[in-house]
């Protein structure tokens, strides 16, 4: 009995210490975000003097000014457009390929699949150099379609791998019934494979969305017109041109961050699954 009480007290103290440690780390994770949001609500005069995190008189006009004068409205809509088109493209193209690699027979199947796998494993730093050369040659520099194709390629290997392993686990009987019912291969892909692969597709959609939304370097090399640039590139442009306009910059950064954080909070289960899957590939 005494032992039990002692154990409980010990456990209580240990848990409290652990919680304190975890809370401190959590605060350092969240604090910079709060600081960013708080600063986006200050004026140009108070932003350097008012060190409170949330200002007494929040100025919401910064968001309007950043959206219009700062150009973040254009960048934001561009980012949404690129993210939606790239993710949609990856979803269709990778699920078609993964379905074929898992279910259909054709010569050279394994070699082609290993080629996609190898692309994930071989590090190619500075691959943006030849990519830029290629884009110039194809007259795809400073075009939306050029950027979209590049970004589809970036997400392709991982998505094909993830979907193929998922399709491999599906029982073959399912498509046999569909085939007897007279479904074509394309019909089986659309009516049977895709609906069943929803969990894997969710991982692919979320991961690639985060990746496209946060991408910077290809957007920098490909775009020179402001009207085509996505958010990350726009932030660096704004930062370079108006280095002291912190409230507007912070408002732009808040606009960049909030959608990502919302998607993350809604979808965190799928994201955790995806990280573990991604790590196992590497």
């Amino acid at each position: 009995m005494r032992e039990g009480v002692r154990y409980k007290i010990e456990r209580f103290f240990k848990d409290t210490l652990i919680h304190i440690f975890l809370i401190i780390v959590s605060v350092t994770c969240i604090f910079p975000l709060l600081w960013m949001i708080g600063s986006s609500l200050k004026t140009q005069q108070t932003v350097f003097s008012d060190m409170r995190i949330i200002p007494a008189h929040p100025v919401w006009g910064n968001f309007y000014a950043a959206w219009t004068r700062g150009g973040f409205g254009v960048y934001f809509l561009n980012s949404v457009f690129y993210t939606v088109t790239v993710v949609f493209g990856i979803m269709i193209i990778s699920s078609l390929a993964a379905f074929a690699f898992s279910r259909l027979r054709f010569p050279g199947k394994n070699i082609l699949f290993y080629m996609f796998l190898a692309a994930m494993m071989i590090p190619l730093p500075g691959s943006f150099v030849p990519l830029y050369v290629l884009m110039t040659k194809l007259h795809l520099i400073n075009t939306r379609i050029g950027y979209i194709l590049c970004m589809i390629n970036v997400g392709l290997s991982f998505s094909i791998y993830l979907l193929k392993t998922f399709f491999d686990q599906l029982p073959a009987e399912l498509e046999d019934t569909a085939r007897i019912d007279g479904c074509s291969r394309l019909g089986i892909w659309w009516n049977v494979a895709l609906p069943l692969a929803k969990p894997a597709i969710a991982v692919i959609v979320i991961f690639n969305s985060l990746n496209v939304w946060n991408e910077y370097i290809l957007a920098t090399l490909i775009f020179s017109s402001k009207s085509l640039m996505p958010l990350q590139r726009g932030l660096m442009m704004f930062q370079g041109a108006h280095i002291t306009q912190y409230p507007l910059l912070m408002a732009g950064m808040t606009m960049t961050t909030l959608p990502i954080v919302l998607v993350y909070l809604l979808m965190q289960r799928h994201i955790i699954k995806g990280i573990t899957a991604g790590a196992v590939v590497g």
Binding site: P32, A97, V133
Partner: protein
């Protein structure tokens, strides 16, 4: 199987293979061709005319800034391997015991890895700022004025400051992988060992550690590959400065390409760096096989 069927099957992979060939395979081989050339990226590319044998590579081996950048990336990697992974493991161990609110912590710790490197870099750049930064403001308020410095412009502190933010952004990822690894360890093992009178430390050393070796190797390979190639965070925090004190290999590649229009040289840098990364990951895979046998 009829030829028509095979042809139809190929149509399924056609879009993927086409995009992959144009945007991955072609650039992959182009890197090797360009690395043997001197080319400014503007003039019409003529392989025969611009071919200069291995001169880009021999220049690269004498390029002091390049190797300085390599060392600096190595320094950031070393900090990430030790500090970031130790923190990730500690947090994973803390959350693995059935603690209240474990899921909330998990969500919070993975928040920084979700954010873009540009946003992270710009926020911290301002916090570190010498004149208006929050860090200096706090240091003055708690009476540590002698520590006040322009963190990112001071050659002595800039690289470490960048490394710390890199760890801040990355530890949540390691945490998730470690936690997933810990959760595969059967609970009965702990119970049996505890009945036998093992202390917490003995449990950790003799049960947890050996079973986690594959996870440790995995996390360290990915940490090294990821950290050595860091650069967007650096572009948004210091852009390589002050001087060359926060340059890393990829920012050098970018500088050769965009800054001095030396596309061939940039490609030779990419190849040498890629080869170094490949050697490192092979060594670690061999090491993991050796350790599994031992």
């Amino acid at each position: 199987m009829k030829a028509r069927d095979i042809f139809k099957n190929y149509l399924f992979i056609l879009p993927a293979v086409a995009i992959f060939s144009v945007f991955y395979i072609y650039p992959f081989f182009k890197v090797f061709a360009l690395s043997l050339c001197q080319w400014d990226g503007i003039a019409q590319f003529d392989f025969a005319k611009s071919f200069i044998w291995f001169r880009n590579f021999s220049e690269l081996f004498r390029d002091r800034i390049w190797w300085q950048a390599m060392l600096q990336a190595g320094y950031i990697t070393l900090i990430a391997l030790t500090f970031q992974n130790a923190l990730a493991l500690t947090l994973a161990l803390a959350c693995d015991r059935d603690i209240k609110g474990g899921n909330i912590y998990r969500v919070i710790f993975y928040l920084p890895p979700v954010l873009s490197e540009i946003v992270v870099g710009l926020v911290w750049r301002w916090i570190y700022d010498g004149n208006y930064g929050l860090l200096n403001y706090w240091l003055q308020n708690i009476g540590l004025s002698r520590l006040v410095t322009d963190w990112l412009s001071n050659p002595n502190t800039a690289l470490t400051c960048v490394a710390i933010i890199h760890c801040w952004k990355g530890f949540g990822w390691g945490f998730i992988i470690f936690l997933a690894g810990l959760q595969t360890i059967p609970r009965q093992l702990y119970e049996v060992a505890r009945v036998d009178g093992a202390s917490s430390w003995q449990l950790f050393k003799n049960v947890t550690m050996p079973l986690m070796v594959p996870v440790f190797i995995l996390v360290s390979i990915l940490t090294i590959l990821g950290t050595m190639q860091v650069f967007v965070l650096i572009l948004s925090m210091t852009n390589g400065g002050p001087g060359y004190h926060t340059e890393v290999p990829v920012t050098r590649i970018l500088a050769s390409m965009v800054g001095s229009s030396r596309f061939g040289y940039a490609c030779s840098q990419g190849i040498v760096f890629g080869a170094i990364l490949l050697v490192i990951s092979f060594m670690q895979i061999r090491l993991s096989k050796y350790m599994r046998q031992a």
